[in-house]
């Protein structure tokens, strides 16, 4: 089995690792780097629990090889809060009780942030389609959608004030 040396940036920090050619980025994050916030729900890109950003783009890390991350920037749930300060989405998910078991939550937060980065003023339908790549089996999505819409509204207000 051939090993690959990879240099990447994760949540702003330079990270170097060696991985097997066949290893997914999700496996590298979880098993080699201890970043277990991304979850493996299916390994086929259907559930979104492993969502990360690759150069800012929402990606299922189970569908990317560890080797392919070379020279790219990765964002994971572990990088979402800034020190003690939660990202507004993280806070709103708590406020709205938008999680029950919480296994899908990291993926939803990454996907929701990617959505709001592109579209700060989404309609309910846009939120629903923006999050359609992430499965949640507990909540029926109601409180998740409300949390994202509420975050978007707050962030727009904050931006206007700034």
């Amino acid at each position: 089995m051939s090993s690959v040396k990879v240099k990447t940036k994760i949540n702003g920090d330079v990270v170097e690792y060696v991985c097997d050619a066949e290893e997914t980025l999700l496996d590298v994050l979880r098993n080699r780097l201890g970043l277990t916030g991304a979850k493996e729900g299916c390994s086929t890109g259907d559930c979104g629990a492993c969502s990360i950003t690759l150069d800012g783009r929402l990606t299922c890390s189970c569908l990317v090889l560890g080797a392919e991350a070379d020279g790219h920037e990765i964002g994971t749930i572990e990088g979402m809060a800034k020190g003690e300060e939660l990202h507004p989405l993280q806070q709103k998910f708590l406020d709205h009780a938008a999680l029950q078991c919480g296994i899908c939550t990291p993926g939803f937060l990454i996907a929701a942030k990617a959505l709001l980065d592109k579209n700060p003023n989404p309609t309910e339908t846009e939120v629903r389609f923006g999050l359609a790549g992430n499965l949640c089996r507990c909540t029926g999505y109601d409180k998740i959608v409300r949390a994202v819409l509420d975050t978007a509204q707050d962030m727009r207000k904050t931006k206007r004030r700034a």
Partner: protein, 755 residues
């Protein structure tokens, strides 16, 4: 201090509020540790070899090549798991299910397992194991499995509950019968009878977290297991017995659990991981793939149901009868019995009879799925009720109100109901704006009611008062939807301290007495009541310490909103002592202050719900969209209303999936054809509307605060409510689930052809 269980009439201070959950920060930052997130020094990766055949004799398993592969540290087969079941039939089924013995009974049945230094080596080792199978005829459909001449799975199953006892083995495990009155006489009185047959396909709980565990057993017979489960005490006891270990020597810790819905109430990989660890003398982690979850965990039953209901012209039901055939996979235990028991529970019936058949087929052994057995039965019964109301020209809601079970009704499954909330949900439904909102083109509205027993069970809680006056609470029921928050609320309410001064944890099996599994919607009820009693035990001690400090008799001290006070003017004049004041002096007044409660909880309150659904059916494609959805359910008392709403919404959403998309599809070869989230499609965000909720609170007399379970009832009405809605929208009665576009188109075509 009253210790009886009459629901308090008082106003609550913290119960009923919506504070943030204690495990929230960990879960939004990715820090929460789930089943697959644990590591141990020297950890190996375990993987399981599974049968590709639905039914096959296992003649020989050759593991010699796999054992020789570099990096492989242990290989186990049936020979490594000798029979320790000591005549316990239920345990024996689990033993055979976790590792096939003489036969593979379904595609995905475990036949061997390996532990290796990494996943790639483990996968390679599995390919080197040679299994010599003799393929046998198989059966996966419940009706086919019941026919004479069907391939028989087990030579020891002779149908129980029939007279005379059959002489030949069959796939019918047992016949159940419930009811009262005389249905034949009842049907003779009827002006109108509707009789229909229904079928539902098997679905999976679809938790996003696959089963995962990390086992560590030493040659001294001591072990530890980290596992995502709804019941770590059950895992401990079952695994220890299967492996011939002392129960006390296996310490099981429940990880955060990424969904269960009943599917994590038994063991699959856990004893295998322990056996691998014991053989390798190294920690072994086993994580199922999604394909394994579909093929080798415990989906729910597929069913075939006949319903017959007779009514008078005035809308009063004269008789109701149902036959419920449920296949539960390769072993006994399908929830046919619960299907029959719950089916007519919403109705006040003079004459009712239900018969259930538990049937085995070549499918994975079913596990509980949220109100096991009830949603399918409700689908059949509530479809007939809607149809009969329509035929009578009566509004279905008025028909249901007229026949609704109420306090004093002898239920269709035996007991007489106490105070129940069914009528309240129906009356609220009628008043709800959804009920009279206009419908668009191709849209239809349906409704249905649902019932679930709810459960109590063995429970143990410890509450410790720390020296700074904050409180730790150890519970033994894994938190699958925010229950730690509810427990903190109830402890805070009793003690009279703020919510954030209580911290709840799910203690491991060596730190707390036995607790039944988190199931039966029992945790907020049972663990909650144990928490209340543990808090009251601690309060008794706190009062005693205050009495000691003041030098007055213990019974002269009372507890009020967090303070010990002299009970009256005769007790003396002392300034109140707060919980923190007393806690600070604990060391000098007799040592640590704690409260415990261990019991088997009785008095679980049954619960009812009414759901209203609008759907839109595209007559060209047969595609259905859920347009509007409202859940009205009796919670008894909503301890944390946000999470009660979450249970209502989650149950409805799972029901929508079950009604419209989800199904286990088997090929002629008996192999599952859609073992992945792409082809087994659970609802995604864009499939659903907002799900409105109305929480009703009809107190359960069996709980100090009136709490009833809420988690399961919410999945009982949706299949029926959606079927009624879709049937109204499409203009044709749908009797098979899921109501996928091809099925709806076929029904429309059949109707057009006048069939």
């Amino acid at each position: 201090m009253p210790l009886d269980n009459a629901p308090d009439k008082r106003k609550f201070d913290v119960v009923g509020t919506r504070p943030l959950r204690p495990d929230g920060i960990d879960k939004v930052t990715g820090r929460a540790k789930f089943g697959a997130d644990a590591v141990a020094p020297g950890m190996l990766v375990g993987r399981v070899l599974r049968s590709p055949h639905a039914h096959a004799k296992i003649r020989k398993i050759d593991t010699s090549k796999a054992e020789k592969l570099a990096g492989v540290k242990a290989v186990i087969t049936r020979d490594d798991l000798p029979d320790h079941t000591k005549g316990d039939a239920g345990l024996r089924d689990i033993w055979i299910n976790i590792m096939a013995r003489d036969k593979a009974l379904y595609e995905g049945h475990a036949v061997a397992a390996v532990a290796a230094v990494d996943a790639a080596t483990a996968r390679k080792a599995l390919k080197l194991i040679k299994v010599d199978y003799e393929v046998l005829p198989h059966v996966t459909d419940v009706d086919e499995a019941m026919k004479p001449g069907a391939p028989v799975l087990h030579s020891h199953i002779f149908t129980d509950g029939v007279e005379p006892k059959p002489k030949k083995p069959s796939n019918v495990v047992r016949r159940y019968e419930f009811g009262h009155g005389d249905v034949e006489a009842g049907f003779k009185q009827a002006d109108l009878i509707v009789e229909r047959t229904f079928k539902t396909e098997a679905t999976h709980q679809g938790y996003i977290e696959p089963h995962a565990c990390l086992a560590n057993v030493g040659p001294d017979g001591q072990g530890e297991l980290w596992v995502c489960t709804q019941g770590h005490f059950m895992v401990r006891d079952t695994c220890a017995r299967l492996l011939g270990m002392d129960i006390s020597k296996l310490r099981v810790t429940a990880s955060e659990i990424g969904g269960g819905f009943g599917g994590k109430t038994t063991v699959f990989i856990e004893p295998v991981a322990l056996a691998l660890s014991r053989k390798a003398n190294r920690p072994v982690k086993v994580v199922m793939t999604r394909e394994e979850v579909f093929k080798a965990s415990g989906p729910t039953s597929s069913t075939s149901i006949d319903i017959k209901v007779g009514v008078k012209k005035d809308g009063r039901i004269t008789a109701a009868e149902g036959t419920f055939r449920y296949q539960g996979g390769a072993f006994p235990g399908s929830p046919a019995e619960f299907g029959a028991m719950t089916s007519f529970a919403c109705y006040d019936l003079e004459n009712v009879k239900t018969v259930a058949y538990d049937v085995v087929t070549n499918r994975p052994k079913q596990a509980a799925y949220r109100a096991p057995g009830a949603p399918m039965a409700a689908f059949a019964v509530e479809s007939v009720m809607e149809e009969i109301a329509n035929k009578l020209g009566m509004a279905p809601i008025d028909f249901r109100i007229k026949n609704a079970a109420r306090e004093g009704t002898k239920s269709s499954y035996g007991p007489t109901f106490g105070p129940i909330g069914l009528l309240a949900t129906l009356q609220e439904a009628k008043k709800h704006p959804h009920f009279t909102a206009p419908l668009g083109k191709n849209q239809g509205r349906g409704m249905a009611c649902g019932f679930w027993f709810n459960f109590g069970g063995q429970t143990c809680v410890t509450l410790n008062v720390t020296v700074d006056g904050t409180v730790t609470l150890s519970v033994g029921t894994p938190d699958i939807g925010g229950s730690r928050a509810s427990m903190c609320l109830m402890a805070a309410e009793e003690l009279g301290i703020p919510y954030d001064k209580v911290r709840a944890i799910v203690a491991d099996t060596s730190s707390l007495g036995y607790n039944d599994v988190t199931d039966g919607s029992r945790v907020t009820f049972s663990t909650g009541m144990a928490t209340i009693h543990a808090a009251r035990a601690a309060i008794k001690k706190l009062c005693a310490r205050a009495a000691q400090i003041w030098g007055i008799p213990e019974d002269a001290v009372t507890w009020e909103k967090g303070y010990a006070k002299p009970a009256g003017p005769n007790a003396g004049d002392f300034p109140p002592l707060s919980l923190a004041d007393i806690a600070a002096q604990a060391g000098a007044t007799g040592g640590p202050i704690a409260g415990h409660h261990e019991y088997s909880a009785d008095g679980a309150g049954v619960s009812f719900a009414t759901h209203i659904v609008d759907s839109e059916v595209d007559p060209e494609t047969g595609f259905t969209r859920i347009v509007r959805y409202t859940v009205l359910q009796d919670a008894g008392k909503a301890v944390h209303p946000a999470y009660v709403e979450g249970q209502f919404q989650g149950g409805a959403a799972q029901g929508i999936g079950w009604a419209l998309n989800e199904e286990y599809i088997y090929g002629k070869d008996g192999r599952l054809q859609n073992a992945g989230f792409l082809d087994y499609r659970i609802p995604v965000c864009s499939d659903l509307p907002m799900i409105d909720t109305v929480i009703l609170e009809i107190p359960n007399p069996g709980h100090p605060y009136g709490v009833r379970g809420v988690g399961e009832t919410s999945i009982v009405p949706p299949l029926a409510a959606i079927a009624n809605s879709v049937s109204a929208a499409a203009g044709v009665r749908l009797t098979s689930l899921p109501m996928s576009p091809p099925r709806i188109l076929a029904a429309l075509e059949a109707q057009a052809k006048g069939k």
